[in-house]
């Protein structure tokens, strides 16, 4: 007898489509009532069968709930919505029959209520079988909001070692790749995977984790079977685990599948976790869609012997250096203006430029690094560089830099490091600065004191 109930229960997904069909047909006739002018007995016929199929759906639904182990909390909304639909169907049938009680309510109320009640019931039912976000997930991806991936990328480099493996990594992986079919609402193979205890409890074939001999755990078997095998998980049609994810699950299971041990304790390495880490590093180069540089300018610079090359393949951000053309002087500086947007790093060390250089450099808005080592600059006009919003590094080693320039430099907001080491003078002594800006300005002049042990020979 039990089997018959189960069978009847399992007919529910089929049965529910009958009232959907009948009600929709009735509603369509309602929409075109003036044109088609359906007879009252015809409409009564439709809503009679709609009511009957509603009853059958409700009955099969109740059996499915009783036989298949759904929780009341999960299905109650769907159940109430179904009852309400049945009630409306029967009510409208009575209305058509001319029942005094039923005709007190306006026809439009029945029609609109039936329409919404049908949609809500169907949607709630669908959510139970396919998972709550089955319908909305593609839209979320479309909108670029990928909630789930955020869960995965919770790890950060500084604290990853203290994160429990299960809650920090395993749970998000399972959530993404397994829980669609193994959750309290949808429990394929009797297995739920939404909590650690559910994993231990396992499914029809017992626990998926074998804590006594972890290597034999069913979880490992299933994910490592060839994809074509019927028992391979996740099923072939579903999103597969990545190599990194498999490796992480395997390591966690092999080391005892503990719920609370941390990534550090189970010696997970940064390398394994890199795809789960938050990527919040700021690129030092301005991310700008800069057009390709003028080929004529590049050619003319190259023919002079100026080194000019992209900072990486396929980018229009350029590095320029006068290392092979030290006669580069103020005259040539203007040549750079047509490619001003492209240059992000410039090295004019040992060239013949003078303080005029600051005027031109301030017109190269994307500069990240400037080197003017061993040039004749004194720092006159250096304040113009404050317009460079991307400037991070400034090298002014062994120049005629005046001490007055240092306070100006310390006011540059974005700059990370200024190198002002002067070989034959102590620039630091000539300047007085707040100690908080000293960190960004490197005066160099390091030395190594002699140690008593230096003289010993063993």
């Amino acid at each position: 007898m039990d089997a018959v109930f189960t069978f009847f229960g399992r007919l529910h997904p089929l049965m529910v489509h009958l009232p959907i069909g009948f009600i929709l047909m009735g509603l369509l006739f309602e929409l075109n009532r003036k044109k088609l002018n359906p007879s009252s007995s015809f409409l009564k016929f439709i809503y009679f069968w709609a009511t009957i199929s509603c009853l059958l759906s409700l009955g099969s639904g109740i059996f499915q709930y009783l036989q298949e182990g759904y929780l009341w909390d999960e299905i109650q909304k769907h159940f109430y919505a179904g009852c309400f639909t049945l009630f409306l169907c029967f009510g409208f049938y009575l209305f058509l029959k001319g029942n005094l009680f039923a005709t007190r309510i306006p026809r439009l109320f029945y029609i609109l209520s039936l329409f919404f009640s049908l949609i809500i019931t169907g949607h709630l039912g669908g959510n139970i079988t396919h998972g709550e976000d089955h319908l909305t997930e593609p839209l979320l991806t479309l909108a670029g909001s990928t909630n789930k991936i955020k869960v995965e990328k919770m790890l950060s480099i500084s604290n990853y070692k203290d994160q429990p493996v299960y809650s920090g990594l395993i749970e998000p992986i399972l959530l993404n790749k397994c829980m669609r079919c193994h959750n309290p609402k949808k429990t394929k193979g009797g297995l739920q995977m939404h909590t650690f205890n559910a994993l231990l409890k396992g499914g029809k074939n017992g626990s998926v984790l074998d804590l006594n001999s972890p290597e034999l755990s069913e979880l490992l078997n299933r994910i490592h079977l060839p994809e074509l095998e019927k028992k391979h998980m996740p099923p072939r049609a579903q999103k597969q685990l990545t190599v990194a994810e498999k490796e992480i699950i395997s390591q966690w299971v092999r080391l005892g599948a503990s719920e609370f041990k941390t990534l550090g304790e189970l010696s997970f390495t940064e390398n394994q976790l890199v795809s789960f880490m938050k990527q919040n590093k700021k690129e030092i180069y301005p991310v700008l869609n800069i057009g390709p540089p003028d080929k004529k300018v590049i050619d003319s610079l190259q023919s002079l012997g100026v080194l000019i090359t992209p900072i990486k393949e396929g980018t229009n951000l350029l590095f320029l250096s006068t290392i092979n053309f030290k006669a580069f002087s103020d005259k040539e500086l203007n040549v750079l203006l047509p490619i001003s947007d492209n240059i992000v790093e410039i090295d004019l060390s040992e060239s013949a430029v003078s303080d005029t250089v600051f005027d031109i450099l301030s017109k190269l808005p994307n500069l990240v690094s400037i080197k003017l080592n061993q040039t004749a600059i004194t720092g006159l006009g250096i304040e113009q560089l404050s317009t460079l919003k991307n400037l991070k590094r400034l090298h002014l080693i062994n120049t005629n830099l005046k001490a007055e320039s240092i306070p100006i430099l310390s006011n540059f907001k974005e700059i990370e490091k200024v190198y002002v080491f002067q070989l034959n003078r102590d620039l630091a002594a000539e300047t007085s600065l707040h100690s908080n800006t000293l960190e960004r300005i490197d005066f160099g002049n390091y030395s190594l004191e002699d140690l008593p042990s230096d003289a010993i020979v063993y």
Binding site: I311, D442, G444
Partner: protein
């Protein structure tokens, strides 16, 4: 046209004539005609709009600078290799437990299945022969043998569990620098110059400086393998002429030499156009480079011109061959745009067979030889703003055993340790490297890795990563397949990257 040029041109014409044999004609005709036909066919398929202003420079100059595939963290590398393999247990890897086991017989379990270069039977354990203390803000451990290094200890990232499967010097050095324990592969520096070229057109892109002797594996450790030989390391000497045969011969003026070279190169270029052999370009380039180097190399290699304070900081001895000199030279090279500077320092093979090879005597002197120069190098790079864009690597081909060596089963005259590749220490500092971290850990006696084990390939993958390469995609086709520096292995050691 002068006399020499005439003679060379005659020789060239004669040579060409001998090439134009019947076989050559057939080959040229079939391939040539076929090629023309194919070329015109293919042209219609290939979009011709691809004209980056930076293309085609490599055609004439194999050392022209190229952009790396990814944003690089460093532009230059200074690689310090201690030939012979220093003992990590007297320098960086602090093992107090080993003290307690000193002079006890090594348990069988440690010896089972292991191969040693010299140890036979059951050796005794040898406690650390140096005192250790914590230094810097990081509180990393360091031995008393390296007192100056404490000053820069917060700049470096230690790899305490490097692993190699080679236990003899030659193969281990080859593996470390070419990714294979056998001959024939290009070295790390060659890969770097092949991939990135050289910024300074008057200096080689890959310079090698040695002190004390040539590594056991010979010059292959800086060879170019199957890459065009223009990418091999160029050894500069700190004593005598920096580069051999660079000086003008007696009676030949620089101008005459220039004319001579340009006509030889013209002829060679004609030959290249006919044969398309990249080795001809290499030759042209080397002649030109040698000519340009005549002026710049002596300039860069001259450390006497450096201010006295700098000389003192490094502890250099001008006119002699020393590691300190080489460190200063390395800094000078890097600031002149040399891409890859490789330093080899000989004399670290502390077997305990002599006082010089004793871990409590000779090793201490060796430590002294490198302690000040390396510290000075890091500080000097820092104050010149070069440490941000230079990677400094310190290491050796392997490490040494926690057991005392008992060559041929007898007790040695001095305290020494055998070769050991299971776990040893290396460090990196500079651009893209996390400061003051330790990655990897050895067991209580420093014998095996218990955490953060990294391989030689991991190290090379990391260095390439910092230079802007994906080590898995950086390949060179040879003998019908693509080759990589890291073969089929290697993971970037992200734990030490900033």
């Amino acid at each position: 046209m002068n006399e020499i040029e005439k003679k060379l041109l005659d020789a060239y014409v004669l040579n060409q004539a001998s090439i134009n044999s019947r076989r050559h004609f057939l080959k040229e005709c079939t391939l040539g005609l076929g090629g023309i036909a194919l070329g015109s066919l293919l042209k219609s398929c290939v979009p011709s709009t691809n004209s980056s202003p930076f293309e085609g420079e490599r055609g004439l100059n194999p050392l022209a600078p190229l952009a790396p595939p990814k944003f690089p963290k460093v532009k230059n590398v200074i690689y310090l290799h201690m030939v012979g393999a220093p003992s990590q247990l007297e320098m960086f890897d602090y093992k107090p437990e080993l003290h307690k086991l000193h002079d006890q017989l090594c348990p069988e379990s440690l010896l089972k299945g292991k191969k040693f270069a010299f140890i036979q039977g059951v050796p005794k354990m040898l406690g650390p022969q140096a005192k250790f203390s914590q230094a810097g803000e990081s509180g990393n451990w360091i031995s008393e043998n390296l007192p100056h290094f404490k000053k820069v200890i917060d700049e470096v990232a230690f790899l305490k569990a490097v692993n190699t499967d080679q236990f003899n010097h030659g193969p281990a050095q080859l593996l470390m620098h070419t990714g294979s324990p056998r001959f024939g592969r290009p070295s790390l520096g060659s890969w770097a110059t092949y991939g990135l070229g050289s910024e300074n057109q008057n200096l080689p892109g890959f310079v090698v400086l040695t002190s004390g002797g040539t590594p056991d594996a010979g010059k292959s450790v800086w060879g170019s393998g199957f890459l065009p030989s223009v990418y091999q390391g160029i050894q500069c000497r700190s004593k005598g002429d920096p580069v051999l045969y660079l000086k003008d011969p007696k009676g030949v003026s620089r101008n005459l030499k220039k004319e001579l070279l340009s006509s030889i190169n013209e002829i060679n270029y004609q030959e290249f156009k006919a044969q398309k052999d990249p080795e001809i370009l290499t030759r042209i380039n080397q002649y030109e480079m040698a000519y340009r180097m005549q002026i710049t190399v002596p300039e860069v290699m001259d450390i006497q011109n450096e201010p006295e304070s700098v000389q003192k900081m490094y502890g250099v001895t001008p006119g002699k061959e020393s590691f300190a000199n080489n460190c200063l030279l390395a800094r000078k090279m890097v600031s002149s745009g040399v891409r890859f500077v490789q330093l080899y320092d000989w004399g670290w093979d502390s077997h305990g067979d002599s006082a010089a090879n004793a871990v409590d005597l000779g090793l201490r002197n060796k430590c002294k030889e490198i302690d000040r120069p390396i510290t000075a190098l890091l500080l000097d790079l820092k104050q010149r703003g070069l440490l941000d864009e230079t990677l400094v690597v310190w290491g050796a081909e392997f490490g040494r055993t926690p057991m005392q060596e008992n060559r041929e089963g007898r007790v040695m005259g001095f305290k020494g340790r055998d070769h050991h590749g299971d776990a040893f220490t290396m460090w990196m500092a500079g651009g893209g490297i996390k400061k003051g971290v330790v990655h990897g850990q050895t067991d209580e006696i420093g014998y095996s890795a218990v955490e953060g084990k990294v391989s030689v390939h991991d190290i090379n993958a990391t260095i390439l990563h910092l230079l802007g390469f994906d080590h898995e995609e950086f390949t060179y086709d040879f003998q019908g397949r693509p080759f990589r520096l890291t073969d089929v292995e290697g993971n970037v050691i992200r734990e030490i990257l900033s």
